[in-house]
């Protein structure tokens, strides 16, 4: 096991202690399905997949400082693409591949076009313009999905069959876990690349980045395309998990979900999105179980909004940030005491 932690530690450039913790976490996650019921298994699969959606948002909000209010279109759009193709062509692995390619290509193109419009301005009005334009793009896609009832079934939702190998919930858990690990490594690599650093520089101080000679608009476009594709990949996995898509997936609310995952966990950290997703999803599930006590517990969105506003106001760095703060003050006290 020491050798294993060593490998993890070396390849992920983390401290041995952290590597050991990561390894333990992995073991726990591997064991969970064997000792728990179907609800827990599905909940965790869901968390794994939505965490990717959250992380893709963190690339934008946390690392580049972009607010994209139409981000759900990549996620929901991919779910729809997979669903429609499975229904129209057939639930086979070939079709899944086709869906993945289609979703990737389309997200990249849409992200590119969206960025061309959204990243024109800078400063105060630039932020507003970006939020509005992305919101508008999201609404266009949602509206299109509602209009094309023949394909999407509109608000009623589209149910579809999926390839056989994904039908087993138990195995799906592991697929989702592997998917999460792979995507985390990929995105982590991205934010640690020279490009990723430039994105953070843009978030910190766009004007200065321009005066170092960086074409900041191009970098924002890269960020949006990468985030769009990551979120599309999560959308496809989501299709395989739920076998269902409705226009709810495309609403601003859905985008806000991703936003909530990242800010609860901590923006600009990538892992924060995973923690945030876990926290939010588990909170949602527990609240819904309290439904029997009072009707208000079924109004998830009220709690959602409340958590969200409180986090923005009082815990802008999220759980990870709060943890670091505690850690820092604890060490200070140790030093002095």
């Amino acid at each position: 096991m020491a050798a294993l932690t060593n490998i993890i530690s070396k390849n992920l450039t983390v401290k041995p202690v952290q590597a050991l913790l990561l390894f333990l976490l992995l073991v726990i996650l591997l064991i969970i399905p064997m000792i728990s019921g179907m609800t827990t298994i599905t909940l965790f699969s869901r968390i794994f997949i939505l965490a990717i959606f959250g992380m893709s948002y963190d690339i934008l909000r946390g690392f580049t400082g972009i607010i994209n209010l139409g981000h759900a279109l990549f996620f929901g759009g991919a779910t729809y693409i997979a669903g429609i193709l499975f229904n129209r062509v057939g639930p086979t692995l070939d079709v899944l591949l086709l869906a993945i390619i289609t979703a990737f290509v389309l997200s990249a193109i849409i992200a590119y076009i969206m960025g061309q419009f959204a990243f024109r301005g800078t400063g105060f009005s630039g932020v507003i313009a970006c939020a509005m334009i992305t919101l508008a793009f999201g609404e266009i896609v949602r509206h299109t999905a509602e209009t094309l009832r023949d394909y999407t079934q509109g608000a009623d939702g589209l149910t579809f069959r999926i390839p056989e190998m994904f039908q087993d919930r138990f195995m799906m858990y592991y697929y989702a876990l592997i998917f999460l690990i792979v995507m985390t490594i990929v995105l982590r690599q991205f934010v640690r690349s020279p490009t990723g650093r430039v994105l953070q520089a843009i978030r910190d101080n766009e004007q200065r980045a321009r005066f170092l000679g960086y074409d900041t608009k191009k970098y924002k476009l890269i960020a949006l395309v990468v985030a769009g594709m990551a979120s599309a990949s999560a959308g496809i996995m989501f299709a395989l998990l739920t076998r269902f898509a409705n226009t709810e997936l495309l609403t601003v609310q859905s985008t806000l979900n991703a936003l909530l995952y990242t800010i609860v966990g901590g923006t600009g950290t990538l892992y924060g999105a995973i923690i945030g997703t876990g926290f939010v999803q588990i909170a949602q599930n527990s609240l819904l179980e309290l439904r029997g006590i009072h009707e208000i517990f079924s109004r998830w969105l009220i709690f959602f909004g409340a958590i969200y506003v409180l986090v923005v106001l009082y815990m802008p760095k999220g759980i990870i940030g709060a943890f670091y703060q505690l850690h820092a003050s604890w060490q200070k006290r140790k030093k002095h005491g």
């Binding site: 640690r192 690349s193 020279p194 953070q200 004007q207 200065r208 005066f211």
Partner: protein, 257 residues
């Protein structure tokens, strides 16, 4: 005289009727240290903004190495070799000091579009960044977040970032602004070193006259958006017109009379 690096012709900008910079024609010669002085509101920083591309002039042209760059974006100008620092400190606060410098180096080396390679793979950048940190006396601050540095240290970091771009001309906007008095001599030393070691062309805005006198080859005096005079520091400070601009003419009539 040596070759002209930057030339402005009739540079003018209007801010709602106010001519912040009015028909300024100056030429900056290669290898010289030129300082711009002038009372508050004389248009010094605005002139920098016009040369570096943050603002577009209402009239006139900016020529750099013989090319008209008046309509180019700031990014393009940086690529051509114009590096600038800002009057207000302007670093990337949530990145480490080391990363701040590396970003500047990386911009010069054009490795910004390597999407999936870890930045740690670029050894030469790492080393160059460490070297630069030593140059500006920040070597023990490399792993600090830039935002946690004190003000004087941030100014030094900013100087290092401009140096990292290895520009043909450095525009430095009041590198000592807001510094504690004790820190100013260090900055002076750094500027002197920059001037000596690397045969740089430097354009500086500064208020502290002792600095100006020690550093400059040429001084340009800007008043109310126009060039009043230019010459060596000694010439300029003896110029009655300049005194008048600074003192409002009060004593001058009597001293000359």
């Amino acid at each position: 005289m040596s070759e002209t690096l930057i030339e402005t012709k009739n540079l003018t900008i209007n801010f709602g009727g106010l001519k912040a910079v009015n028909k300024v024609s100056i030429s900056i010669h290669k290898g010289l240290f030129t300082t711009i002085i002038g009372p508050n509101g004389a248009g010094k920083t605005t002139l920098f903004n016009l040369i570096s591309g943050l603002l577009q002039p209402t009239e006139g042209t900016v020529i750099f190495k013989g090319t008209d760059i008046t309509r180019l974006s700031p990014m393009q100008r940086v690529a051509m070799g114009i590096g600038r620092s800002f009057q207000l400190t302007n670093v990337f606060p949530t990145l480490t000091v080391h990363e701040n410098i590396r970003l500047a180096l990386q911009a010069k080396n054009r490795t910004g579009y390597r999407i999936f390679t870890s930045y740690k793979r670029f050894r030469s950048l790492e080393e160059a960044a460490t070297k630069l940190l030593e140059d500006v006396l920040l070597h023990d601050r490399g792993n600090f977040l830039a935002g946690s540095l004190n003000h004087g240290e941030q100014r030094k970091l900013e100087l290092a970032m401009v140096l990292a771009l290895k520009p043909d001309v450095l525009l430095l906007d009041e590198p000592t602004a807001g510094m504690a008095l004790e820190e100013v001599p260090t900055m002076l030393e750094l500027l002197e070193k920059t001037k000596k070691e690397q045969d740089n062309t430097i354009l500086l805005i500064e208020h502290k006259m002792d600095l100006v006198t020690k550093l400059s080859d040429t001084v340009i005096v800007l008043v109310n958006g126009s060039v009043l005079t230019r010459g060596t520091a000694a010439e300029v400070s003896e110029d009655p017109e300049v005194l008048k601009a600074y003192l409002g003419g009060g004593i001058l009539n009597e001293t000359t009379a």
